[in-house]
């Protein structure tokens, strides 16, 4: 009993630390990447080359007043940021950070991920509704429509990997990529589902070019218009943690998670690759995907809400379904490497 409690405490503290570090690192990375893509310098004042910038921003947000508007539903208004954070925290459970280091390797890991990732939409709707502000409500409703539709595509893309692996357990999915990552072994169908997955998760995390929920230009800040101080920081942090999580899932399913780069049965080469620690492989792949998603944000123009739903229902979903069919045929016939 006591050992379990201690373990839980340690894991909880580790997760919270990881959240804080991720928030700092990813916000800084986003600002630097955007600066480099726009031929700017980016933050370069606080600390060496600006690395302490996000720390300074955090301190600013912590000491700021957390205002609650008069007409707001106080209970829901204060609860919403924590619901969003809880959604992100729960998703940390089945993610394997390195060889043998996974909080909870449950046998329906993939199903758990797809189910729990929908919780954050409740927090967003709650925030939009309780703010008593038309911009917040509109942003929240858009976000709801967006997340509900794009979850389908993300789900179909994930299922195509489950079809290949034949298991919902994360550790088994990684073990099945021992002889090569699925993105190389599964031909074009896996490539298509990978692209669909990346597009869908960009939409699910409410990032540009799918930032309908925030839409600075039309809705000031969408669902978190009325939030300030630490509660705003929680939403901000949840956005970046969610990016990390979806990229970690994408890396696990398509790029082999912590599995080093193996080619078939080239024993010598595989052995050489094993010398690089598995945590470096995992974080390397995850940060590569995060970089790709940032690349999207600073390249593509925004979509209108109707174009957004068009893209999902007329393009991604039919292509995803057809792709899943193709994937199933390939898996049954054993036409993958």
């Amino acid at each position: 009993m006591l050992t379990t409690l201690t373990e839980l405490t340690i894991v909880g503290i580790l997760i919270l630390t990881l959240f804080a570090v991720l928030g700092l690192v990813l916000v800084f990375m986003e600002r630097k990447v955007s600066a480099y893509m726009q031929i700017r310098l980016g933050p370069n004042r606080v600390g060496y080359k600006g690395i302490a910038q996000t720390l300074a921003d955090t301190i600013k947000l912590v000491v700021k007043e957390g205002l609650t508007p008069n007409g707001a539903d106080k209970f829901l208004f204060n609860l919403a940021p924590f619901i969003v954070m809880f959604g992100a925290m729960l998703l940390m459970a089945p993610i394997p950070f390195a060889r043998n280091s996974q909080i909870w390797d449950l046998n329906i890991g993939v199903l758990y991920i797809t189910a729990v990732s929908s919780i954050s939409v409740i927090g967003i709707l709650m925030a939009g509704w309780s703010s008593n502000n038309k911009y917040s409500l509109l942003g929240a409703m858009r976000s709801g429509a967006q997340i509900v539709s794009y979850e389908l595509s993300a789900g179909l893309a994930i299922i195509s990997i489950v079809v290949l692996t034949g298991s919902l357990k994360i550790s088994e999915i990684i073990a099945s990529q021992e002889t090569g990552w699925w993105i190389f072994r599964g031909h074009i169908p896996v490539l298509i589902s990978f692209v669909i997955f990346i597009i869908a998760v960009t939409a699910e995390t409410n990032r540009a070019p799918f930032d309908m929920a925030e839409a600075e230009s039309e809705l000031t800040a969408g669902f978190h218009t009325e939030y300030s101080g630490m509660r705003f920081a929680l939403f901000f942090l949840a956005e970046y943690v969610n990016i990390f999580i979806v990229c970690a899932i994408g890396a696990t399913l398509f790029l082999g998670g912590w599995m080093p780069f193996h080619i078939g049965n080239w024993a010598g080469f595989n052995h050489l690759m094993d010398f690089i620690p598995s945590s470096i492989w995992f974080f390397g792949k995850t940060f590569f995907l995060i970089f790709v998603i940032m690349w999207f944000r600073w390249t593509f123009p925004r979509l209108r809400i109707d174009q957004l739903l068009n893209l999902e229902w007329k393009y991604l979903l039919p292509i995803g379904m057809f792709n899943l069919l193709l994937m199933t045929i390939i898996a049954i016939m054993g036409w993958y490497f």
Binding site: V33, Y36, M37, Q38, I39, R40, L41, N44, W295, F296, W298, T299, F300, Y315, I319
Partner: protein, 159 residues
């Protein structure tokens, strides 16, 4: 079948155009040499301002404290938001003829939008746009500037 062909070509063309965009930003990301922004307070002495940058209206004076403004008020009329106010007087020339000249050229920096219309309207090139931009002051009244220097005269030969 034409529907299917249209569908596939739409997907192909959009993916292609998105990739072109990503290649552009990827090029910028990997070629981080040319920076279009400047490290402002550090490079104050060697600022690299574009030629067209407009900071404020000034009236150049030569060494003999002479300017080129005849007081025709063309700039005052051209200004869309009443930034310029010219108070004229009449000088008596040695021959006893009256001649119009400026007494005070008042320029309201806080109202100016740097539209350049006054400079274009001026027939004698008496005013021009300077590239100074550090305009912040502690009191609003300091924005109201008199452009002609005290005891300045009209330059010879400017009509």
């Amino acid at each position: 079948m034409s529907f299917l062909r249209n569908y596939i070509s739409t997907v192909y063309n959009s993916v292609r155009s998105l990739l072109i965009g990503m290649r552009r930003t990827g090029y910028y990301f990997t070629h981080h040499k040319e920076i279009i922004t400047q490290n402002y307070p550090e490079n104050r002495d060697q600022l690299n301002l574009p030629e067209r940058f407009k900071g404020e209206v000034v009236m150049p004076h030569n060494d003999n404290n002479e300017h080129r403004c005849t007081g025709c008020t063309a700039c005052e009329l051209a200004c869309p938001n009443g930034t310029i106010k010219i108070i004229t007087k009449f000088d008596i020339s040695p021959e006893g003829k009256k001649k119009k000249a400026i007494d005070t050229f008042i320029y309201h920096l806080e109202l100016c939008t740097m539209c350049n219309l006054c400079i274009q309207a001026c027939p004698t090139d008496a005013i021009k746009m300077a590239q100074t931009f550090e305009h912040s002051v502690y009191d609003r009244s300091e924005f109201i500037k008199t452009l002609n220097k005290p005891d300045s005269k009209l330059m010879e030969g400017v009509e």
